[in-house]
């Protein structure tokens, strides 16, 4: 794609870069905002889902007769009510929403009821008789890859996988360039370590919820909390075998997504119950259902080998990544393999990735999916090399940092990137020079994310009272209504409070890719700027008509149409409001729109700096100080950008220290609740300090880069490096929970442990 001419360095912004009050704030803090579970409809039924207690079981039969006869029950459904779509991805999504021949994990849906009340629906679930033949199960990625492991589903293995693995291994990928063995020979020191990370959940506060209605002539309406109403329409219309235009999906306010709401879990079930019962049906997942049956991230097992010269030059890097993403094939390991060494300018690098199926819930995207674990492993080995060679970890990273012109390990050649700027800012920051006390350690890590653009469609209407309505199709999970409205205001030259941005249903705009890949501020922002430019051109044309001059002789400046020079004529400027007020007399309403498959998202780098203290008697870790450095390209609304940087750091702290999926010997999830699935609480955390760097993205008119994901990538290694330095022993498994740290400490001091 041709890139816009860069004017960002000189551009003076009026609205972009300021911090107006968030437009959704008052509704949210006063409880007025409508979330997924907040809509009701006349005659509405309560939908409830029966879930498998077994991690792996053949479903011999399901007897629903008693449930159907129970008082208040209006519909009972099982897989028999659905037809498997031809498309493999759609089939996997449906089978994840409703088990067909086998239950594939603890919590897998096997049947559902719709009844007149919660109590009636609950009672009916108990009357459904499922005859299970319990099968051997596997939940660990390394176990699942062994040739004799219980196989989740046959026939899913790609030919590239090769010999020696069980059929659970579905895909293999590799990336890199150069001769790594020659590179390792050139090194003064080589370290190879193995790492494991547990699955973590996105931990959004709002559980999945939806309300479905079906008309007798086959049209349907679905209200749900999602990161992408168009995705929901595409998936659900395929599963329900209906035309996309017949299903309207309206997104609610969303109480967190982090990638976990980029697919569906309950929507097809609600639609089928609504179709069968002829009544509106609402389903709200419990927290336990969310943890057992919506998608966590992958767990991983990794080997990383890196060679370094005495002066800190990396001579070669090799990573082998094994991810499991639940009971279905999953491509997340590919992104890990691409991202692992992205921060480094290397002559010789190789990354290999394998995906394995296990008896766990189908993984869903979670902020920079696949990257945090791979980069954790690489950045841990880099840190250990720095320790071994007595080198400063930031100097070593600066020495090897990827920059414009670097050929990345995954094949692309970078344009302008902000990694060195982030590293230099970290090096110069007072945090890096602050003294550490006994038992304390400081950790550093780089982070990277690709960022995406994708299909985007925006309409901008200039209202007759001089206000502006922007219509966009991406649920606002990180402040996009503010940033998009700000970009519209900037481009039109009107105050931000004259612009209102609304997220609309699938009938109101063309297709929009889901809110993922940190794409919205970049891609929807880009489309909004283009739509505003179209509206400006139209307003210039209207002014020209009023003045009786050529449209080409009118320019737009400071929110007004003006004659482009003395030769064009002598007319006072017309404001947007003045032009809008008379639009009916000049040809009708004024609008701009833009449709694009946006390219040029611009990769994003960040660097995290953290100090921790480890209690040597209990293995407890306290995070003392934390600073995030990240390249935002251009921060449209700095509050939100800082919020993204802080939020990613906090979720990463949880991942590093306490969050994990714990499966028992019986294959059941043991901690399906927020008591024992430990996200950090406020008192666990210091203020997360932020430093925004702005290295403009050449692919965006204002230089914007996505900022939503990079921030969860560095914390895992930054904290692991800090803990390892504080404890004096290298930790190679996440989470670094107190029992794990204490065991590592005791192993490192055998005498003390024996006492």
């Amino acid at each position: 794609m041709a890139l816009d001419k860069q004017t960002t360095a000189k551009r003076e912004f009026k609205v972009v870069g300021t911090r107006p009050l968030r437009p959704d704030g008052v509704d949210k803090v006063t409880g007025k905002a409508l979330y997924g579970a907040d809509l009701t409809a006349p005659g509405m039924l309560v939908g409830k889902i029966l879930r498998s207690p077994h991690p792996h079981a053949r479903i011999r039969s399901i007897d629903t007769s008693a449930a159907e006869a129970a008082p208040g029950v209006k519909a009972v459904i099982t897989h028999a009510d659905f037809t498997l779509p031809d498309d493999e991805d759609m089939r996997d999504i449906l089978v994840n929403c409703m088990a067909f021949n086998k239950a594939l994990y603890d919590g897998h849906a096997v049947a559902a009821v719709a009844a007149i009340s919660e109590a009636a629906a609950k009672a009916a679930l108990k009357l459904i008789k499922v005859d299970y033949e319990v099968l051997p199960h596997v939940t660990d990625v390394d176990e699942a890859m062994k040739p004799d492991a219980p196989v989740i589903e046959r026939g899913r293995q790609a030919e590239t996988v090769g010999e020696g693995f069980s059929e659970n291994v579905t895909s293999y990928c590799e990336f890199g360039h150069g001769d790594i063995e020659a590179g390792f020979t050139r090194a003064d020191h080589v370290i190879e370590r193995s790492f494991k990370t547990e699955a973590t959940h996105q931990g959004y506060i709002e559980p999945h919820a939806c309300l479905a209605t079906f008309t007798t002539d086959g049209k349907a309406d679905l209200w749900c909390c999602t990161q992408g109403q168009y995705m929901v329409r595409r998936v659900c219309s395929a599963i329900m075998d209906m035309e996309a235009s017949q299903l309207r999906v309206t997104p609610s306010e969303i109480g967190g997504g982090f990638g976990g709401k980029t697919t569906v879990f309950i929507e097809p079930v609600a639609l089928m119950l609504a179709k069968k019962s002829g009544r509106p049906v609402k389903i709200v997942m419990s927290r336990s259902d969310v943890l057992r049956a919506s998608g966590p991230t992958c767990s991983s097992s990794m080997d990383v080998r890196i060679g370094m010269t005495k002066d800190g030059r990396i001579t070669a890097g090799h990573a082998k990544l094994r991810y499991q993403g639940g009971a279905f094939p999953c491509g997340t390991v590919e992104m890990g393999a691409m991202a692992a060494f992205a921060a480094y300018d290397l002559e010789a690098v190789r990354t290999q990735g394998w995906n394995a199926m296990t008896n766990r819930p189908k993984q869903a995207a979670y902020r920079a999916p696949g990257a945090p674990m791979a980069i954790y492993a690489v950045e841990s080995v880099v840190d250990e090399l720095c320790q071994h060679l007595g080198l400063d970890p930031l100097d070593v990273r600066l020495k090897n940092a990827a920059k414009a012109g670097t050929k990345a390990s995954y094949g692309v050649t970078f344009t302008d990137i902000g990694l060195s700027a982030c590293l230099a800012a970290a090096k110069a920051h007072p945090h890096y020079a602050a003294p550490l006390g006994p038992g304390q350690g400081r950790g550093v890590s780089c982070g990277f994310w690709f960022n995406f653009g994708g299909d985007t469609c925006v309409t901008l209407n200039v209202n007759m009272d001089g206000t502006v309505s922007v219509t966009e199709g991406n649920p606002d999970i990180g402040g996009s209504r503010a940033s998009i409205g700000m970009m519209a205001a900037e481009e039109l030259g009107v105050p931000f409070d004259k612009v209102r941005t609304q997220v609309v249903d699938t009938a109101s705009l063309g297709y929009n890719e889901v809110t993922d890949g940190s794409r919205v501020t970049f891609a929807v922002g880009l489309a909004t700027i283009k739509a505003a430019q179209a509206a400006k051109a139209e307003m210039c044309r209207r002014a020209a008509m009023i003045w009786g001059i050529d449209a080409e002789a009118v320019t737009w400046e400071d929110g007004c149409a003006k004659p482009s020079g003395p030769n064009a004529g002598d007319f006072p400027p017309m404001t947007l409001a003045e032009i809008a007020a008379v639009s009916s007399q000049t040809g009708g309403p004024i609008a701009g729109h833009h449709e694009v498959n946006a390219d040029g998202a611009g990769v994003s780098f960040g660097v995290h700096l953290v100090d921790v203290e480890v209690d040597p008697e209990t293995g407890a870790t306290k995070v003392l100080r934390y600073t995030v450095f990240q390249d935002a390209g251009k921060a449209v609304h700095p509050d939100y950008v800082e919020g993204q940087m802080q939020g990613g750091a906090v979720q990463g702290i949880g991942w590093a220290l306490n969050e994990e999926y714990i499966y028992g010997e019986d294959g059941r999830l043991q901690n399906a609740g927020f008591l024992d699935y430990r996200v950090p609480v406020a008192s666990d955390l210091p203020m997360i300090d932020t430093v925004i760097l702005e290295i403009p993205n050449p692919g965006h008119p204002y230089g914007v880069r996505g900022v939503g994901e990079t921030s969860i990538v560095p914390p895992l290694a930054a904290i692991a490096n800090a803990v390892s330095r504080a404890a004096g022993v290298r930790l190679t498994e996440l989470p670094m929970s107190p029992p794990r740290i204490l065991a590592a400490l005791d192993a490192a001091r055998p005498k003390a442990a024996a006492e």
């Binding site: 609950k122 407890a620 043991q670 901690n671 430990r678 609480v681 929970s737 107190p738 005791d746």
Partner: protein
């Protein structure tokens, strides 16, 4: 499910005794409501006792305090007398839940929920607190340590419930402390815990001590060997080491999602030692 509000102890006993099915007593409800909502129990009868006279009162009695069964953690924490005499019991109670939960949760409820990890119980056992139990046969006094029978089970008979907890008088130079280990800083459940109550004589010698551990056995564990390590000592390092070793040796924990046997045994000793130091500092004033 029936819900009844009892106006008197006798009425509550009558209701609980007459119900042939499952019953639950509601004071603060911070455990009962969670269990109801999660489907863990489906009681046939819930009896609300918190409107019975005296249930929300703290009364001075024989140099100690009698704490009504419906006194909340927040109310207990505001009572300067209890705080001064039994600071460890108060700090154990105040660790339970959030600020909102503190407005409801009770000592008696925490005890009757019979979790081995209950935060108020190790300190109450160390304090040798006594529960007053009302039932069809009248009232009886039972040491707190004898109320829990195992996870989720109590020794209370049909129709019985706790009406108050008595924290006894103690000599000058006495204090207590409670510490728990949690992976977070609040809103969590003890992986293991320790309550220590002790008395220090005029010459700095420990003259009396009780040490109790939580979450390392099916019920809260009183550890006489740990107390013996302190009594007669000046709470020097050797005595504290012996205390920690006795606690680690006495702990009989399990491996579960919250911690390992090795972790709990070791940290039980660490916490007891730290709690003893805090209690001693308090006792010395």
């Amino acid at each position: 499910m029936r819900f009844e509000v009892a106006a008197s102890v006798a009425e509550a006993v009558r209701m609980l005794a007459a119900e042939p099915g499952t019953t639950r007593v509601l004071a603060g409800g911070t455990d009962v409501l969670v269990q109801l909502r999660s489907g863990l129990v489906e009681p046939d009868l819930v009896v609300d006792i918190k409107r019975i006279d005296g249930m929300r009162e703290i009364r001075a009695e024989d140099g100690g305090f009698r704490i009504g069964a419906a006194v909340s953690g927040a109310e207990l924490g505001e009572d300067a007398g209890v705080r001064a005499l039994w600071p460890g019991v108060v700090e154990g109670m105040e660790l339970i839940g959030s600020t909102q939960v503190q407005g409801r949760a009770t000592l008696a409820g925490n005890l009757c929920n019979a979790s081995p990890a209950a935060d108020s119980v190790p300190a109450m056992v160390a304090a040798d607190a006594v529960a007053r139990v009302a039932g069809p046969a009248g009232e009886r006094d039972v040491p707190v340590a004898q109320i829990p029978a195992g996870p989720g089970k109590t020794t209370l008979a049909k129709g019985e419930f706790i009406v108050s907890i008595f924290l006894p008088a103690r000599p000058a130079g006495s204090a207590d402390a409670y510490l728990r280990f949690i992976p977070r800083t609040e809103m969590d459940i003890a992986v293991c815990s320790a309550g220590v109550s002790l008395t220090i004589g005029g010459d700095g010698t420990c003259t009396a001590a009780r040490v109790a551990l939580g979450a390392v056995a099916p019920t809260v564990l009183l550890v006489p060997d740990a107390a013996a390590a302190l009594i007669g000592s000046k709470l020097d390092d050797a005595a504290l080491d012996a205390l920690a070793a006795a606690c680690s040796a006495a702990a009989k924990p399990i491996d579960d999602k919250r911690g390992t046997v090795a972790f709990r045994k070791k940290v039980a000793g660490v916490l007891a030692r730290r709690a003893a130091v805090i209690a001693a500092e308090r006792a010395r004033g």
